[in-house]
């Protein structure tokens, strides 16, 4: 696994940030890995607690259905690893299904989610002329500013593929929404050190790259501050 040299795109740091990419067999990690490597981060695959040593942050990706994903996380022993990591206030970024798994439950299945964020994942409403999955490019509707989407960010067009969207109990953790069939649904969340995107930043061209860069910059700044 090659690591690109730090390009100065992220804040100056003595060594590249090490990102732990949680590998539980749901979806293709390749694109996510390369997106971070292009930004000068070092990416390691996380299969268990030992792999998280020296990681600055974890990324929980995922494509597929809610229940099989939770089952795989349980079977691989990763549920307590993620829970302990977040309980210690360490940073985590969920992507797509990875966002949904952070919540307590989903309309898509019976399994309990990780419960790191309060709320439930709901099926997108069925509405003529608005096919599900919601797939394609759409502009984010900014909500609470966060390091992912600080206030004043220019219109961010990002790429979505999803059939479900989270409804956080605390609306203040929603940092972006997206219009679906005339009503806004959750597109990105931020609470404490937990961030997550329903869309795919790694497939969202320069806009997605800028967002991942902001997250890496935030990680670097957090590391430098006492």
């Amino acid at each position: 696994m090659g690591t690109l040299p730090a390009t100065g795109l992220t804040m100056a740091s003595p060594t590249p940030l090490r990102i732990g990419l949680i590998d539980y067999g749901m979806g293709n990690l390749h694109s996510v890995q390369r997106a971070f490597e292009r930004l000068g981060a070092e990416v390691v695959a996380v299969h268990g607690a030992a792999d998280t040593a020296d990681c600055r942050a974890l990324v929980l990706p995922g494509v597929g259905a809610f229940d099989p994903a939770m089952e795989r996380l349980h079977r691989s022993g990763l549920v307590p690893v993620i829970a302990d990591w977040c309980a210690a206030g360490q940073p985590l970024l969920g992507i797509c299904l990875g966002l949904q798994l952070l919540f307590e439950a989903s309309d898509e299945g019976q399994a309990a989610g990780l419960g790191l964020l309060q709320g439930r994942v709901r099926a997108l409403p069925r509405s003529p002329g608005h096919p599900v999955p919601h797939m394609g490019w759409a502009p984010l509707l900014p909500a609470e500013p966060s390091p992912l989407l600080p206030g004043g960010t220019p219109a961010s067009w990002v790429y979505f593929v999803h059939s479900y969207a989270a409804e956080p109990s605390d609306p203040a953790c929603t940092t972006a929404r997206v219009d679906f069939a005339g009503s806004p649904v959750t597109a990105a969340v931020w609470q404490g050190s937990i961030a997550a995107c329903q869309f795919h930043p790694e497939k969202s061209s320069g806009t997605g790259e800028a967002m991942l860069r902001r997250w890496l910059d935030w990680l670097a700044a957090e590391r430098l501050s006492p």
Partner: protein, 261 residues
């Protein structure tokens, strides 16, 4: 509403672009990955690679091409040509393709669409339909590069594959292909109205007006969700930037160019 998409299509064989592409300052005009990056930077919303050789020995090369593309390109891409099994679908998706496109193999074995969608989700499975006008006003589905009439009706076939789990239809008018006389709007509209998944219009684009017509949701428009473009872009007649700027000016919902690209 998701934006209407502009999708460059690259024909590849043995890991190389088949038709020459006129891009200023290109190091290697035949390298699909370099071209994909250029199109992505110029505002393309997605890319399609069609393996026109689709030979058995070329499969490994195609998988390797997909892997290299996934490493370099930050927009979604679809791969089609010669995919005839769930194993074939799996190999390409694992290598990093976002979607696969099935054509002749879906006609031969419609359940392949269902098996692919069940395993990977309908968002991964595109069915490509090559259609040609019949004397009675409908359209027949052709396979084998337009050489063989299946006798299937294009609109009914589109409905059937969507019922089986296809998440998108890539619809090529064989009558229009290469003519630059405009997309076949009646065909595109008939299919788009028959299914509730996105339809990508292909074949016949000669100018921006044609693209706007294909994407138009009005009663005379093509009602397509996306326009596939090949020679018009490859020959340097138009750029994605020009197309996007023009379509935005017409009030179409397309993703604007990124300010910081």
């Amino acid at each position: 509403m998701v934006a209407k998409r502009i999708i460059p299509c690259l024909d590849v064989a043995d890991g190389r672009v088949v038709k020459g592409v006129k891009f200023v300052g290109l190091r290697d005009a035949g390298d699909p990955v370099e071209l994909a990056c250029r199109y992505s930077a110029s505002g393309a919303d997605e890319l399609v690679f069609l393996d026109i050789a689709a030979s058995h020995q070329g499969r490994a090369t195609l998988v390797e091409l997909v892997r290299r593309t996934a490493e370099a390109v930050t927009i979604p891409f679809t791969v089609g040509g010669g995919i005839s099994s769930v194993e074939g679908i799996t190999a390409l998706l694992r290598a990093g393709a976002d979607k696969v496109s099935l054509n002749s193999s879906a006609v031969r074995d419609p359940q392949l669409v269902a098996r692919g969608a069940e395993r990977f989700g309908c968002q991964c499975i595109v069915v490509a339909i090559d259609a040609r006008a019949r004397a009675d006003g409908g359209w027949d589905v052709f396979v084998k590069g337009g050489r063989e009439n299946t006798g299937l009706d294009a609109v009914a076939w589109a409905r059937q594959v969507v019922g089986l789990g296809a998440g998108e239809i890539l619809l090529t008018s064989m009558d229009g292909d290469g003519t630059q006389a405009g997309y076949h709007l009646a065909l595109t509209r008939a299919v788009a109205e028959a299914v509730d998944v996105p339809v990508i219009a292909s074949g016949g684009a000669g100018c921006i007006d044609h693209i706007a017509q294909a994407l138009d949701d009005g009663p005379l428009g093509g009602k397509a969700a996306a326009a596939l473009l090949a020679s018009l872009l490859h020959d340097g007649v138009l750029t994605v930037e020009q197309i996007k700027a023009d379509l935005l000016g017409r009030g179409l919902n397309v993703r604007p160019l990124e300010a910081f690209a």
